[in-house]
């Protein structure tokens, strides 16, 4: 194990390198480009034995990854924002064909107006594509989650693709200390990919051919959901193995921070969780009972885990760094639906902030907590979906 100072982009490249990705199809886009540049360097320096494909778009990058995965190769790509949404059609294909492609996505706002800074709408809008979705808080988590994702996705009971989100600039371009596990340990943890149905000239297969309404289309879609339902238990198991091998503990789809006795709990995903933790510490020093749930995984959505973690909260604030126009923040919608019909479910309010990379500070989060306490005190939520820091 070696400790190095590196950005989130470099950590993502190391994650793919240590996982021994065999085919990398790449198209550059800010702020992701460094990931695929670093991988190109690893390949040209002979440090990573992989086929590195230059493609003409992100749509093609995903198509190449799917095809390579179907031959039995471990595949990797990275993208961001406009690139991810251009891939949209193929994202459905990757999960439908049950290819365990792993991808890093640097979470960036969508144009127009042009904006290269952090927002989660790019990944949130891929919610229904059948991909497992992670959102990282640190560069270490980016590296570790890529390695664990291969083990999860390639499991015979899962066979689904995963995307790992890292916040633009706050992670992609910010240097942190990262523990790089040694290759032998990673090899032990993550053996070579053993595909279920590899393309083979000797034993020809048709993949994804026509299935009529009276045939098996519905059943194949049902199977994707069955696999999704196995993801969280499998992830818990993989994280336990990871802890034994590397000594770093991850806690499944949620990270709980001072939630046990918290009156007001905020929910957040991505790197802003660090700022919320800092704010929790400030409030706790004053004896104010606040807590945080960091949502590490958005698909499959950890409804049961959230309901359990919120069972004692008096008020819940959901921070969405994304927005579904015509409605509300995505995490808010999903959490409300999960809490429907649950006895003694807490009141819940949506806070939209950090859009297009607008800074989220401890001051912002303090105002959010105070806003929640006011709602709790007055027993009333005037504005259930509130955009914070909008200059109206």
């Amino acid at each position: 194990m070696v400790k190095k100072i590196m950005t989130g982009d470099i950590a993502a490249a190391w994650g793919a390198r240590l996982s021994r990705a065999e085919v990398i199809a790449a198209y550059p886009i800010t702020p992701q480009t460094i990931i695929v540049e670093k991988l190109a360097q690893f390949v040209s320096d002979g440090e990573l034995k992989a086929e590195y494909l230059h493609v003409e778009s992100e749509h093609s990058a995903m198509a190449a990854c799917i095809a390579a995965s179907q031959t039995g190769a471990r595949t990797f790509t990275a993208t961001s924002s406009q690139g991810l949404v251009l891939m949209h059609e193929l994202l459905h294909w990757a999960s439908g064909a049950r290819t365990p492609v792993v991808m890093a996505n640097v979470n960036r706002a969508l144009a127009p107006p042009w904006n290269v800074w952090v927002e989660h709408t790019d990944m949130m809008s891929q919610r229904d594509t059948g991909w497992i979705q992670f959102y990282a808080e640190s560069n270490q988590e980016v590296l570790d989650t890529i390695i664990m994702s291969y083990k999860l996705c390639e499991d015979k009971e899962i066979q689904l693709p995963a995307m790992i989100g890292l916040d633009a600039f706050y992670l992609s371009h910010t240097s942190e200390i990262v523990d790089i596990p040694d290759q032998d340990s990673v090899d032990k943890f993550l053996p070579q990919y053993d595909p279920m149905y590899p393309l083979d000239i000797e034993n020809p297969l048709s993949i994804g051919s026509l299935s009529m309404p009276h045939q098996w289309y519905s059943e194949f879609r049902y199977k994707i959901q069955e696999a999704m339902e196995r993801v969280i238990p499998k992830l818990n198991q993989i994280e336990e193995e990871f802890y034994k091998e590397f000594g770093r503990k991850y806690t499944g789809p949620l990270e709980l921070y001072n939630t046990d006795d918290a009156e007001v709990v905020l929910i957040v995903s991505g790197a802003a969780a660090g700022t919320v933790k800092e704010t929790v510490d400030i409030f706790r020093k004053k004896g104010i009972k606040v807590g945080l749930i960091r949502l590490r995984m958005f698909r499959p959505f950890p409804s049961e885990e959230l309901n359990k973690a919120l069972s004692k909260a008096l008020f819940v604030g959901v921070i969405d760094r994304s927005f579904s126009f015509g409605h509300e923040g995505a995490i808010f919608s999903e959490l409300k639906a999960s809490l429907y019909g649950v006895k003694h479910s807490p009141p819940i309010k949506n806070f939209i902030l950090g859009i297009g990379g607008r800074d989220i500070t401890t001051d912002t989060i303090s105002r959010v907590y105070n806003n929640c306490f006011n709602c709790l005190k007055n027993n009333k939520i005037d504005n259930p979906v509130e955009w914070i820091d909008i200059r109206v």
Partner: protein, 95 residues
């Protein structure tokens, strides 16, 4: 893996939507409206048509002339468009 026709429940299905019925069984030539016809007198055996066929429906015979496999040719006309000697004509089917 069971044959597609023998499946009776979701338990018989593979995890991924694959089948061991080769796609060669799906004869898509019936989609064709226009049929490519090769004029061997004009053909210079350059094999551009063979290279351009998106459905791998053109083979090359021992002499080097293209043979169109009408079981799979969908009549897209790319071969006729790309032929430098206009040696491939697109004829309406059913004439």
């Amino acid at each position: 893996m069971k044959k597609l026709e023998k499946l009776s429940s979701i338990k018989d299905l593979p995890e991924a939507p694959i089948s061991n019925v080769p796609s060669l069984n799906q004869k898509t030539g019936t989609w064709r409206v226009f049929r490519p016809e090769v004029d061997k007198d004009k053909c210079i055996k350059c094999s551009i048509c063979w290279r351009c066929c998106p459905d791998i429906a053109i083979d090359v015979d021992e002499e080097g002339f293209p043979i169109i496999n009408y079981d799979y040719c969908k009549g897209c006309g790319i071969c006729a468009h790309e032929c430098p000697k206009t040696a491939i004509r697109m004829e309406r089917e059913g004439k």
